[in-house]
Symmetry: C2
Subunit: 356 residues, 2 copies
Amino acid sequence: MSSGPATHGKGYGISDTKNYQDFTIKEFKLKTPEPSDVTLSIECCGVCGSDVHTITGGWGPLSDDWICPGHEIVGKVTHVGDAVTEFKVGQRVGVGAQVFACLKCDRCKNDNENYCPEQVDTYNSPYPDGVMAQGGYSTVIRANERFVFAIPDAIKSEDAAPMLCAGLTVFSPLVRNGTGPGKTVGIVGVGGLGHFAVQFAKALGAKVIVFSHSANKKDDSFKLGANEFVLTSDKEFEKPYFDKLDFILSAADAAKIPLKELLSMLKIGGKLVSVGLPDEPWSDMSPSLMNPNASCISSTHIGSKKEVNAMLKLAAEKGVKPILHDIIPMSKAAEAIESVKTNKVRYRYVLKQDLE
Amino acid sequence: MSSGPATHGKGYGISDTKNYQDFTIKEFKLKTPEPSDVTLSIECCGVCGSDVHTITGGWGPLSDDWICPGHEIVGKVTHVGDAVTEFKVGQRVGVGAQVFACLKCDRCKNDNENYCPEQVDTYNSPYPDGVMAQGGYSTVIRANERFVFAIPDAIKSEDAAPMLCAGLTVFSPLVRNGTGPGKTVGIVGVGGLGHFAVQFAKALGAKVIVFSHSANKKDDSFKLGANEFVLTSDKEFEKPYFDKLDFILSAADAAKIPLKELLSMLKIGGKLVSVGLPDEPWSDMSPSLMNPNASCISSTHIGSKKEVNAMLKLAAEKGVKPILHDIIPMSKAAEAIESVKTNKVRYRYVLKQDLE
């Protein structure tokens, strides 16, 4: 008979959005174990822009007195419930930005569990049993096996971790909007998400045009696989691309992006998906921006397990991986957070386990 | 040998957006006749919200010293160019909100002439030859035959006129977004455009749910064919419709519509098209409104000739027609304009010819 799963974890968290750099170590309770749950000890965790939005209060107040962020998690399975079929103790796995869904609704049954209305985020979100989900700047996490992903041997843990939110967040809308051979895709913003978007759009076979307001992203864009690089601070940058783009993915985390110009480059009915979710609303949004070409604006939320698996397979085959700014101990989380907040990160921090 | 086409028209127009009710009668020059042009003498013209936005300056300054509005035009052909194949002198025809496109680009060649970058609006827009296009509160109009439409005998002129902008503007996005049997479509706002949208969505076979902030639109909505009527001022009006709508067409001409609530009712990836084009931007627009269900926001511009013909055929078959507030002489244009501006119109004015 196997030993019971862990009941508690320990992690780095914050208590006050005004002092978002003051991480303290605390022990926290894990969700009640259920037959389909997998428990893993955490090896490393990526630092995501979402972590910054959440702990600075940009997306609203904290849901609890103390929040442990982190949702780009790789570790080793330490326990599986009796109903778990996919995973074994000792296996290397990952967890992304979602740890629960009802798994019964139409959305869950149709590979849209990432849009389940009962979803629980990996942190700052309460489970139905009342236990607060805590994230990956910690020792251990438990989740239903639907939200646990096998990591291919070809991908190192520190490269896999950032894919589980940043990678998936761009991979899902790229795939759902037909990115592939014969298509021209615009990627706006080359940061943590965007630098994956360029690689995945390329790996999927599309022609990739990067739009950035930073000339210093040019070399990296080409290294990542861009076919063209366009500086959005150039006057009339959009003109040569009128009616040329099938799809635009904006990873720009900004309240003001050149929406009118970007939309004008889309073919009739083409879509711009913003996976950037700025703290402030878009001030200049108007239906009249879209009616010259019936273009659409959308936003998406991470992706499904089916998409995670497809993404990891493609990444393993094509060598897609993050450019890591640094790999540092979890105790230095505040350093990474500040680098993301001030937009200095190129392009992802990964925190290595240093607790226990 | 036929006589030459008219060289000038006479109409009711305005010179100053601040005094948008001060219509004066002036003679104006018609575009240079070309072999594919059709000239018609105007019998009647609908009064559209666009006329109000334009002559009040809501959509920007006037393009000329004097503007004759009106783009829901029915009349009789008085002259056809040598290359015209579709029409004969004496035939009853209509002209909508567009009078020119290049007819050579990919958009024009693929039934998207309404998105041609060289398009000329029916009024307040210059032709390539420099002549200012003037609208239908006038005696005569000339347009390329692509922008002239045969009116089925079953439809009266005063019923056909408002379809050529208001009807088409809603028919095109309904059709392009798959409105038909088995689909549930939300129509937001029951005015000049919305009252056509309800009828066309029904005629196309969809289940139609009307969302309005005016309880006094309830009876009309059911008369027009709505299956359900929902008051958007009711708290949590959207809750019973979560994940139920395939498509939403918003005809609300307002800077603030309950976007978050409306979008929440869409199925995964569902679209809201706003054909309302308010003067002011939407102040509360944010990607986070769409990421709970990957919904999209779009806007469209009138429709193609192919769609006009399909719309008129369907209208003739199913008896779709406007509810006319009144039919008044063109000299009373200001009265109709004020009624539209103050949202008193139920649901369309048509102006009858009284010049010459």
